[in-house]
Assembly symmetry: C2
Homo-oligomer: 562 residues x 2
Amino acid sequence: MVTDWESRAKAKREAILNSIPEKWRVQKIPSADEQKDVTGAYIQQFLSEKEVAITETDAVGIAEKVAAGEWSAVDVTEAFCHRASLAHQLVNCLHETFFDAALASAKELDEYYAQNKKTVGPLHGVPVSLKDQFHVKGVETTMGYVGWIGTFEGKPDDPRKGTYESEMVRELRALGAVLYCKTSVPHTLMSGETINNIIGYTWNPKNRYLCSGGSSGGEGALIGLKGSPGGFGTDIGGSIRIPAAFNGLFGIRPTSGRLPYEGMANSMDGQNSILSVVGPLATTARGVRLLAKSILSAKPWLHDPLVVDMPWRDAQEQAIFDIIKSSSDKGQLSFAVMKSDGVVNPQPPVARAINMVVEALGKAGHKVIEWKPPSHKRLLEIAFKTWIYDGGKDVHDAFALSGETMSPQIKMSYGDKPIEQFTAAQVAANNVDKRRFQKEYLDYWNSTAQETGTGQPVDGVISALAPYPAARPELYRYYGYSVWVNGLDYTSVVVPVTTSDKSVDKYADGYTPINDQDKEVVDAYDAELYDGAHVSVQVVGRRFTEEKMLAIAEYIGQLVGK
Amino acid sequence: MVTDWESRAKAKREAILNSIPEKWRVQKIPSADEQKDVTGAYIQQFLSEKEVAITETDAVGIAEKVAAGEWSAVDVTEAFCHRASLAHQLVNCLHETFFDAALASAKELDEYYAQNKKTVGPLHGVPVSLKDQFHVKGVETTMGYVGWIGTFEGKPDDPRKGTYESEMVRELRALGAVLYCKTSVPHTLMSGETINNIIGYTWNPKNRYLCSGGSSGGEGALIGLKGSPGGFGTDIGGSIRIPAAFNGLFGIRPTSGRLPYEGMANSMDGQNSILSVVGPLATTARGVRLLAKSILSAKPWLHDPLVVDMPWRDAQEQAIFDIIKSSSDKGQLSFAVMKSDGVVNPQPPVARAINMVVEALGKAGHKVIEWKPPSHKRLLEIAFKTWIYDGGKDVHDAFALSGETMSPQIKMSYGDKPIEQFTAAQVAANNVDKRRFQKEYLDYWNSTAQETGTGQPVDGVISALAPYPAARPELYRYYGYSVWVNGLDYTSVVVPVTTSDKSVDKYADGYTPINDQDKEVVDAYDAELYDGAHVSVQVVGRRFTEEKMLAIAEYIGQLVGK
């Protein structure tokens, strides 16, 4: 028997597929066994030469070409709509398409350009994809919940339905960006895998035995397939960085209060011990920078009450460029490396990627010390409490709207039914614990000035972003490597480093798991299956160091050849 | 029968008094009937000519004189220790004195200066007073609680007892400030009057029938009597601005995250919907600026995990100075005035002060429009909930430590015993309500660009800070005029405007109170009793506009002759 929620989910799933023009349909979608990697040559076969040229140009390149009049916004938009359509058919990465509206706005941009001989803003003609938490007029936001179909955040009669736009959407339009699709998320947003009852599972395009990451998993997969040059995700426990890492992208988790979250849908809204933050993912570091810097040029603090009045600070970025330039033979930046957080060790490909970065930095003359911070275990206990302050009430209420089933990935955290809530005093106590831990960590960071030889504390910390290059379905179990950054509200940028290589990425003979959690991670590894998957690291900076960390991430990317 | 807590409170009260050297004791403290106003000539009679000259110089002047070698840090310190001692005897404004330690550090500063021909920092030799939430080594922090005597924040065996220092204390010392006393607060900090079982009631030195304000009431009274050129208070509902206003001072409530609260004692610590913030009060606007700017020069974001990486921005201040200079005949700044919040009308002296400011701004060529914001009543409901999230648990626990009685001022808010706590989901819902209100308010603020004639939204809002010039004991009942600023996390600076004048400050004949709350305020007014009291207003700016609002406050102070 097909239940009501199943039929509603199916109808929505089909509507998404049917929104793709017939001419862009792929006749037969190969299985993962038939075609593990659908990036590169595989997807290119469905595209014209010009479409390939456009879609394999990064956001900065596109902005330049359109600004120079070489490409029209319409041509660019059409190419990305096509490639995004292919991407969705191959890996299930879209929740909404609005290609007609996109082409209409591209046409307006072209007309403006033709008349005024200038662009409307720094993103003129750049397609930008959005995680399905952004509200866009004329388009639904389901966030993967069947119960949200045909409603505004679950409320059927809310007057904002179909008309409301999130603050950043308004800003992106004003900056000249072309919005054309919204990307898949795990229902609740609380998973490193992307699964829901509407679109099913979002696969990793580079290795379709693996997940695309989560919760911005649709963004990761789409941009990984170059169906978008860049887009925006959100991150409360790794949700920008995990998909960036798993798909070989750059992605930034800014400090909370830097970019505008105003007017977006969310889970457990109002939990304010650890805030979800919004930030860009893109194929290049400079693409990430363009998106972040452009948003800040719109002065979001005048429109989002939680954003700090802090424009993009060129000087902070330039300071890093200057050091890098001057340090050709003597190192002047310094880093710490955290090879393990003491709870779980990264799988072999990730461990190798970290070593590659450390080696590259060393060769370039920069000092790298070992990171021996206050116990991450303590921090994780504090952070994970914030996910269940309400005992799962918000999450279970959302499932109850339709009666749909909860995926195993979410059940792992939220169980079969709500549990007792925290009291206000318990929340407050956790806030105090968190602040004390943050202070200890800050003091530790400062103390590294004694070790670096530069007279300054480390400029960044090199760390795994997840123990996995990318996780296998239902095997994303350990979030410690991403969550510590959220707990400390640090700025972190993911840097793609290499790909998994079955010939070298093996656990050492006789490797003994350090505990049960580590054993789960060890057991989840399969060198053969993982072969070819992207492998990335994160570079973590202090709070509000977006300009600095992006400059460093770009530099590290260059050092490792990305 | 004297209870244990009464005898402990008495012993502490006597210890504070006994810490004042015999030579500085006042033989007979006059009653309020005998001597209503103990500022100016009255207190000067106990001081030498040089002591008067020193203590009636503002913080900037003192820093300059010491930096120029005209005054020694020791002479300055001794003068303020003397005057602070007199102040305490006259109005009960101190919780701790540490004059010997202060003189020892002043001596060190003088030696450094003699040897190096320069100062250690911008506050070299400037005495700075601290509200009794700051931890200073060798000194207790009671926060007015009898149960905290001889403990560290109520914990008798905490190893930090007697040794720990708050982050800002460390910074102030490094900047050259001389710390010499800690000032009185209402137990719990949650009152606009300053009363506790240790020091009793802190009176307003300008009018000893009235309160000195709260919760930084000791700071207000001490600086009002020029027993300190400037000091630091905290503000979660008006606690910096109320004492500043009631004592004719400038005081700033910065946006949260601007100045470092790290390591201070607090009530209901961990409630993070509306954060208490720390900020300076001083006799002049430039004194406030010196203290704020100096702290930021110590880069507090490297030492407090909640502080934003935002140095003092000279450009933002200069922009205001430039406009003011250029606007001698045509106004270029614009303001809104809120004459009433619709709940309670300000008493006549406050209403007159607001009119004086509006008139002065108009005469100087600046546009002033009427402020018609979203309902403050709604905002106040949201804000007051945050005070009782824990149902009064923290407050009642603190009183239970000693069994001491709660003052009526506090009982008004917290009752006889704790009530039910908010659940985590209820706290989250209130956070969402708050954010939505903030967004509406922001949009309203932006909308004033249509009215100002400058093409820009208003630069600031002129508002009462309290309905009273200063409140009579047990009659501080309405907090709406201060709390709205905390609810919105705006920057606000108090500007002293005038003094109450019984000959003009009267309710209009036939004035009808708009509701019961307004009637309470009307009934609390007594033109005769209030005569001579300071009257102030606040100038409110958007978030993170400390430089701008201080520049504007200074300018308004000049316009009204302060």
